[in-house]
């Protein structure tokens, strides 16, 4: 018998319920039995052969139990919904808001009644104006003391930190980007015009969030965007300069800088700094 398995003598004695085995031997044997299938099989064989009394008891218990086990419904394995690992329940209303804003922007664009459609002026699709900042709304809720009740608990866990924030951000993007793609397709806005600004905004929100808190960073970025781009665009009914395709290299640069800043400060997201 190999050195890693229990001696046949010991297993036989154990099966018989021999009280002469030393306590430490019993202990070692049981510890081994818990981990070793082979020895458990040997034990059941030894029990069947050498201890008819034990076998009788086990059989009686089984005979007693089996009808009841058959009657019990198999335990409903209540798998927790998979989505909490990607989104917190508090983020759902925020995502719903983002989706309804998108939908309304689309409706305005389609009916041509939106505020961007002054008589005789050029058309500025609302979807295009809002697309860059919409995911930021969802990201705001991803790591927030005010919005997430379980935030204090989450902050004390090993998973807290950049991977968790990124996971939640990714899930926001996974919902928002396809919706915007569909809206863009309907209104004739090309993805090239908004996708890069959208990602650039998301990365800057995260980068700034590492310093002042993700929610606060998102609020700042949305306000700036509304004041500097959306309001003038609506007033003049002209597509703002920053959303022309010439601006794409700048957005690319912002995305790269934002991503770089997030990576450089990745430790900050585990602490309370990013959480306000």
């Amino acid at each position: 018998m190999s050195a890693e398995h229990a001696a046949a003598r010991l297993i036989d004695a154990y099966a018989r319920g021999d009280t002469h085995i030393a306590a430490d031997e019993v202990w070692a044997l049981e510890a081994h039995l818990e981990l070793c299938r082979i020895c458990r099989d040997r034990l059941s064989a030894a029990t069947a052969a050498g201890a008819p009394a034990v076998t009788a008891v086990v059989d009686a218990v089984w005979a007693d139990l089996e009808p009841r086990l058959a009657a019990t419904a198999p335990h409903r394995r209540l798998r927790p919904a998979r989505w909490p690992r990607w989104l917190t329940p508090t983020m759902v209303p925020w995502l719903a808001t983002v989706m309804s804003v998108t939908l309304f922007a689309l409706l305005f664009d389609l009916t041509g009644t939106g505020p961007g459609h002054g008589p005789g002026a050029g058309r500025v699709p609302l979807v295009l104006l809002l697309a860059p900042v919409l995911p930021v709304l969802g990201v705001a809720a991803s790591w927030s003391r005010g919005l997430d009740p379980a935030c204090e608990l989450t902050a004390s866990t090993p998973r807290a930190g950049l991977p968790l924030v990124l996971r939640r951000t990714a899930s926001v993007l996974a919902v928002v980007v396809p919706a915007l793609l569909a809206c863009g397709w309907v209104t004739g806005v090309t993805a090239g015009q908004w996708l890069l600004p959208c990602l650039a905004f998301t990365s800057s929100a995260l980068a700034l969030g590492g310093v002042v808190g993700v929610t606060r960073a998102a609020a700042v970025l949305i306000t700036v965007w509304a004041a500097v781009v959306v309001a003038p665009a609506l007033a003049t009914s002209r597509t703002p300069l920053v959303l022309h395709t010439d601006g794409l290299p700048v957005w690319g640069l912002i995305l790269a800088l934002g991503t770089g800043a997030v990576i450089a400060r990745k430790g900050a997201y585990a602490g309370p700094g990013a959480l306000r």
Binding site: T19, W27, P80, C151, E152, L153, T157
Partner: protein, 277 residues
């Protein structure tokens, strides 16, 4: 046969269980300073060493108990001094992840997701605490049973009473079998029978875990704690056994029990009865 029966409850021992601990104290603070908010130092130069057992953290409201517990839970970063948990300094960020797997924490304001069932919530917390996937169902069941909620495990949290929610909070704190368990006011909202049960659970946990319980109820300390830390204005006032605390008070001090008299003797010192509250 009796011999065998006794041994059945023991489980296999892994090498990790037998490895010697490389630290003398689970919690060791030297000159610890922690800020509450931007400027105020809620913990100011605290020296504290805590080992296995149940430590009651006593002190008046505003003494800095919650700030200290949050720093011990690695949620707040110390502003000065040193804090070592399980032999690792909390100031190096790289250590946090491994350290946090071995900490259980019940915050004073226990926030939760109302639509989750007890089991879902504790499972979610087990996932956040990186409990190995295969161990999660068993660990969750064990934690829920220990707080006596096995029969309510599949009910939504919003249908539970305040005391039960508090017990869910304790279940999530112990689900990862922590080496350091931090409970901030765990007895709030529990009825007397539940408080007794909690004290029993604390004593069980205290046999192999460093449990820190913050409370303002002196009688909780008397019943469940092996060690008392009295804390006021961010500083350590007293550390000793409940017996030592009782011995500190005399008949001339305010209080209805020896412990309460000890508490008021140590906190108020010579200028007794300052302020009405």
């Amino acid at each position: 046969m009796t011999d065998r029966k006794e041994h059945h409850s023991m489980s296999a021992i892994s090498a990790a269980d037998l490895a010697p601990t490389p630290y003398a104290w689970q919690i060791r603070a030297t000159g610890l300073k922690v800020r509450a908010g931007r400027t105020r130092l809620a913990v100011d130069g605290l020296d504290l060493s805590l080992g296995t057992g149940v430590t009651g953290l006593l002190g008046p409201n505003g003494a800095g108990k919650t700030t200290l517990i949050r720093a011990l839970a690695t949620v707040l970063r110390p502003a000065g001094g040193s804090l070592e948990l399980l032999g690792r300094s909390v100031t190096d960020r790289g250590e946090h992840r491994a350290l946090r797997r071995r900490i259980g924490y019940l915050p004073q304001e226990f926030g939760y997701y109302k639509r989750f069932t007890v089991r879902e919530f504790v499972e979610y917390m087990a996932w956040l605490k990186e409990v190995p996937k295969a161990d999660v169902p068993a660990a969750v069941q064990r934690a829920v049973e220990r707080v006596g909620l096995a029969d309510r495990a599949d009910e939504r949290l919003k249908t539970l009473s305040g005391g039960m929610v508090r017990r869910v909070g304790i279940a999530q704190a112990i689900v990862n079998d922590p080496a350091i368990l931090l409970l901030d006011e765990p007895t709030v909202g529990l009825d007397p029978a539940q408080r007794l049960r909690l004290r029993q659970l604390l004593q069980e946990l205290g046999t192999d875990t460093c449990v820190v319980v913050s409370t303002h109820l002196v009688e909780d300390v008397a019943a469940a704690c092996t060690d008392v830390v009295l804390f006021d204005e961010g500083r350590l006032v007293f550390q000793g056994t409940p017996g030592d605390l009782a011995a500190a008070g005399g008949p001339e001090h305010v209080g209805d029990s020896p412990l309460e008299r000890g508490y008021s003797a140590l906190l108020q010192g010579p200028e007794q009865g300052r302020g009405t509250w």
